[in-house]
């Protein structure tokens, strides 16, 4: 699913304040994995996530997503690739404030050129799956944090991506809601078979995944299989 070889990324390349953030990352992720990337702030985990999510480019190395080499893509083709292959879940939800839950969920399909009626049907279906059937017409401001994150998960799922990238998905949630969200993500991983990659600095979140990668100072420090994932909040 993901194949990364000797990936390097430096901010402000060639300038005195150059910052070498990723220093030769090697990483393979198989389809259907449920894994986490941990690290302190500044370890480069967010940068790695952005590179994997085609939101940012890299300087050298190789990155192959689902058999497609991601390198020197135009803005347009990277947007299309993002739309088809990658779903995002963010710490701050990133829902569009003036659109209701249904419209937010349907948005990726709009950029995929799917007609409105079909879009809304699918969005309603996913909202129902995530237990938000009665909140379909609510604006984000009328939803709780957990509900917002569930809307975001539905939005990430709707385009049936190869991989879902979650950036601190529980960072803005209390423990009960965090548990709920992680459970949903596990469930989605199992039932839909979608690869799920969570970036977090919380050990509890990482211990709920099957594989834990530790990043330190731009390098992979450890890459451990977690034989016994537990959700302990």
């Amino acid at each position: 699913m993901i194949k990364i070889r000797d990936l390097n990324k430096t901010y402000n390349l060639g300038q005195p304040n150059a910052l070498h953030v990723l220093k030769g990352i090697d990483m393979d992720v198989a389809a259907g994995e449920f894994l986490s990337i941990m690290g302190a702030s500044g370890s480069g985990k967010s940068t790695l996530l952005n590179v994997i999510g085609i939101l940012d480019n890299y300087d050298s190395g190789e990155y192959i997503l689902d058999g497609i080499p991601v390198r020197d893509l135009s803005e347009t083709s990277s947007a299309e690739l993002r739309n088809r292959k990658v779903g995002f879940i963010f710490q701050s939800f990133n829902l569009i404030s003036y659109k209701n839950a249904l419209e937010n969920v349907a948005l990726p399909l709009y950029y995929n050129g799917i007609p409105r009626k079909k879009r809304n049907e699918l969005a309603a279906e996913y909202l129902e799956k995530l237990g938000l059937k009665d909140h379909a017409l609510h604006l984000p401001s009328e939803l709780s944090g957990g509900q917002k994150q569930r809307v975001a998960i539905a939005r990430a799922l709707i385009s049936r991506p190869s991989i879902i990238l979650a950036d601190e998905p529980t960072g803005a949630l209390d423990t009960t809601t965090s548990r709920e969200v992680i459970e949903i993500m596990r469930e989605v991983n199992r039932s839909e078979g979608i690869t799920m990659l969570i970036v977090t600095h919380e050990g509890a979140v990482a211990r709920a995944t099957d594989r834990m990668i530790y990043l330190r100072d731009g390098r992979i420090e450890s890459d451990k299989h977690n034989p016994n994932p537990v959700i302990e909040f």
Binding site: L55, T76, I96, Y98
Partner: protein, 413 residues
């Protein structure tokens, strides 16, 4: 396409005040443009309608007094026109289109039976019908045979007809008596500009026989072709003096010998003034429109900045740069055209209102303002200008929007 419009209408509905303020600037700009152009047209129509009694290329020449000695002749002689003068002008001045000599006579009374009135008789050549802007209501104008045989025939204004034939009797063929001489009515007319100047036309030869007291022909009326600007007009006048000087015995440089008046000159001058006025109004109108357009561009720029985060999210979800550019530009075009359309409607409405109010003020008389119409062409080109401006107004903000990087945008909380 409907999807895009739906998305845009949605964003506009969410930002009503912003949309309104933006639209207002454009609507106001195009409103001013339309009203100004309409005012220009109205003014022009008003002035032109006041001159409608004559062709715009009309010139008349009257004999004056010499002020310079010429070939041994003293100054202070009276110049006299006769048939030879008319004939000479006809043959030697190529620009002349229609030509007529004129002799006036102020009557003591013109009567038919017990009805009478006092009108001026004007002896004129058959071509005079083409020089004066009049409509023949019935009968005919003076013709060559009338002139050749010095017939006593009269071509009268409808007011004279109404006065002399108050019961609506047939006037054609009847004899009216003007200062003791009877004339047969051959036709009835009215002036195109609705003037009440009830001249009685008679053949020039008849008028000369009856009313010439040695003064000769009192005026030569003519229309000219091919005189488009002041330079050509001035050259024409110079040539006229140069040709008539030797014939009538005055120095061509002696400007008091011939008194030349031209609506040609007047209409050229007025045309120049209106060209300038119209250009001026276009500039002002366009400038106010530009202010509106800059307003749209400015607000779109603010909008893009305000929506940085939203645009970032959309990009993360797979919005291509082109789809972002498209939505910003279409939004700008939509606001400018919709608001511009409202402005156009209000501008046309205001001009129509002004037309009614001012137009009804001076019925039949002089008016400085008439039919302030704005041509469809102007309205259409204003709309095209609006759409182009909408695109331009949207272009810079949308290019700025595409440079937004999704990650940074989403962090900007």
């Amino acid at each position: 396409m409907f999807d895009i419009l739906g998305e845009i209408l949605e964003t506009m509905r969410r930002n009503k005040l912003r949309t309104f303020l933006t639209g207002f600037a454009v609507a106001w700009g195009i409103f001013l443009l339309i009203v100004l152009l309409a005012a220009g047209t109205g003014l022009q129509n008003g002035v032109q309608s006041n001159m409608a009694g004559q062709a715009t290329n009309y010139i008349n020449i009257r004999p004056g007094w010499t002020s310079m000695p010429y070939k041994g002749l003293k100054a202070d002689r009276r110049i006299r026109f006769d048939e030879r003068t008319i004939d000479y002008v006809r043959r030697n001045i190529p620009e002349v289109e229609y030509l007529s000599g004129v002799i006036f006579h102020n009557t003591q009374s013109v009567s038919y039976g017990k009805q009478y009135g006092t009108w001026q008789i004007i002896g004129a050549s058959p071509q005079a019908v083409n020089i004066h802007n009049l409509t023949i209501l019935k009968g005919r104008f003076v013709n060559e045979i009338d002139d050749g045989q010095k017939r006593k025939v009269a071509f009268i204004h409808k007011l004279a007809e109404e006065t002399l034939f108050p019961h609506g009797e047939e006037s054609l063929g009847k004899y009216i008596v003007a200062d003791g001489i009877s004339f047969q009515i051959i036709g009835v007319y009215e002036w195109l500009d609705g003037s009440n100047d009830a001249l009685i036309f008679a053949p020039l030869s008849t008028a000369k026989m009856l009313y010439d007291r040695g003064w000769g022909i009192s005026r030569i009326d003519l229309t000219v072709l091919g005189i488009k600007n002041m330079k050509q007009y001035d050259e024409f006048v110079l040539r006229l003096r140069g040709k008539l000087g030797p014939l009538l015995g005055f120095d061509p440089a002696d400007t008091s010998a011939l008194r030349i008046w031209g609506s040609a000159r007047q209409s050229i001058e007025i045309g120049n003034v209106f060209r300038f006025v119209n250009m001026f109004l276009w500039v002002i109108g366009f400038a106010s429109l530009m202010a509106g357009i800059v307003g749209v561009a400015n607000i779109m720029l603010v909008t893009v900045k305000e929506r940085t985060r939203e645009i970032g999210i959309r990009k993360a979800l797979g919005a291509t740069p082109w789809s972002i550019i498209k939505s910003v530009i279409i939004e700008a075009v939509f606001i400018t055209t919709a608001a511009g359309y409202i402005g156009i409607l209000m501008g046309i409405g205001a001009s129509e209102l002004a037309s009614r109010v001012i137009g009804s003020a001076g019925e039949g008389g002089m008016t400085a303002f008439k039919d302030p119409d704005v041509g469809l062409g102007v309205v259409f080109s204003a709309l095209v200008v609006l759409i182009i401006c909408g695109v331009v107004a949207g272009l810079i903000p949308s290019l700025k929007a595409t440079r937004i990087r999704p990650i940074e945008a989403m962090r900007a909380d």
